[in-house]
């Protein structure tokens, strides 16, 4: 994809700082030298385009990937991927991963002794449609303990990875659930200083897209850096 117009610097408070001491792992892993600001070159204005053959249809259904039904609260997670002008990002690769209903990741470094679900791997992916929409069927993940501080627990969340128009649109984030009492005491969630920016990581219960006797739905829209506006369109706005 070509011709991503210049990206704007982040509005203060809407993105986390690299060093956020309440999240202890940031202390030894965040750079201390200032970032060097560069103009965009062809390397930065372009980005990878992912083909449909990378995805199989069932990759958006995390409840049936292991030859049986995963345990837990079945949910839909859906939304739109937009650029900064509110335009749909079509064909955006969206990758997700998460803990199971008991709060356990299917990963060798997860030492929490909650049960593994043999029918839940916790990974999925898709490409957004012509309106920038995505929809996954999954299991609501459980909260889980981590070693950041004494009695630390992560609020329930789903990890999201997104590619937009141009590599500078790349985003990795986490989606949270409404009314989770662990959010106010979670250092990762609270690393975003601005309250309204933080709350945009919280999905919305969406009864309209929930299915009676089947599954609740949560809506989570995602805004990627950059604009797909052409220079011609930009000139007409001035």
């Amino acid at each position: 994809m070509i011709g991503l117009p210049a990206v704007q610097p982040a509005i203060p408070g809407t993105q986390p700082d690299f060093c956020f001491p309440p999240y202890v792992a940031t202390i030894a892993r965040s750079p201390r030298m200032p970032l060097i600001v560069l103009p965009e070159t062809l390397t930065e204005t372009t980005g990878p385009v992912f083909g449909h053959s990378l995805i199989i249809k069932s990759d958006n259904d995390l409840t049936m990937q292991q030859g049986g039904e995963a345990l837990g609260e079945r949910i839909f997670v859906h939304g739109r991927v937009l650029d900064e002008d509110g335009r749909a990002v079509r064909g955006a690769l969206v990758e997700v991963w998460q803990a199971n209903a008991a709060g356990r990741y299917r990963h060798k470094v997860d030492g929490y002794d909650a049960p593994i679900d043999p029918h839940f791997s916790g990974g999925g992916r898709l490409l957004t449609d012509e309106e920038g929409r995505y929809c996954f069927k999954t299991i609501k993940p459980g909260p889980y303990p981590w070693s950041n501080h004494h009695n630390a627990w992560r609020p329930a969340h789903i990890h999201f990875s997104l590619f937009g128009v141009g590599i500078l649109s790349r985003l990795v984030t986490q989606m949270y659930f409404p009314a989770d009492p662990l959010q106010p005491i979670d250092p990762i969630f609270n690393s975003i200083p601005d309250e309204s920016a933080r709350q945009r990581l919280v999905s919305r219960l969406d009864m309209e897209h929930s299915q009676s006797n089947y599954a609740l739905a949560y809506e989570f829209d995602i805004v990627l850096r950059g604009s797909q506006e052409t220079p011609f369109e930009a000139a007409r706005r001035r």
Binding site: P9, R29, P31, I55, H107, R125, L171, V172, V223
Partner: protein
């Protein structure tokens, strides 16, 4: 321009469990229909204390854009040409094979030396870091407009070192903080 823009969604760490969702693209070799030779980069990701970062993911972009806007489409498997995802092992080591990067045009007619853009994700990184890797022994490095923006004493952090016995094998470490901290960029 003064029209309302949406505010980009906040970044959060990739965490230690990213392989669950992202492994399928790790270590994919470039499509073999390319006319370009391949090279290999091996390296480590290290923290402030020189400790290996065993849960980092690196994404490499660019290199074989062929100096134009062509070649950015996916191959038959759907994998984009010019994009590579690597992850560190228990000892903080990563390795990847890629098509030999070519010089890239700058808008003003100058050329950039062969390089890749590198995105660094890890537990403890609330946002990803962005750097570039260049290749030692490449004469064009001396005139590269981006390398020349960087204080001379830090430039070496972006240049992969060719192996003494194998000019197609390069060594390049990413140091997140401290002595020889890698240069990271912002746009």
């Amino acid at each position: 321009m003064s029209f309302p823009r949406l505010i980009p969604t906040g970044s959060q760490t990739v965490g230690p469990y990213f392989r669950i969702g992202l492994e399928y693209l790790i270590g994919q070799e470039p499509a073999n229909n390319s006319a370009l030779d391949t090279i290999e980069i091996r390296g480590k990701v290290l923290d402030r204390d020189g400790a290996p970062v065993s849960d980092a993911m690196l994404e490499f972009w660019g290199g074989d854009l062929s100096g134009s806007d062509s070649g950015v489409t996916p191959d038959s498997s759907g994998h984009p040409i010019g994009f590579h995802r690597a992850a560190t092992d228990d000892n903080g080591n990563f390795t990847l094979v890629l098509n030999e990067p070519l010089p890239t045009a700058l808008g003003d007619g100058r050329l950039q030396a062969p390089h890749m853009l590198v995105l660094v994700f890890a537990r403890g990184l609330l946002r990803h870091l962005i750097t570039r890797v260049y290749f030692g022994g490449e004469p064009a490095n001396a005139d590269d407009p981006v390398l020349l923006e960087i204080p001379a004493e830090r430039r070496h952090t972006l240049v992969a070192r060719p192996d003494a016995n194998n000019p197609r094998l390069f060594q390049w470490n990413v140091i997140l903080q401290g002595e020889n901290e890698t240069v990271f960029f912002a746009w």
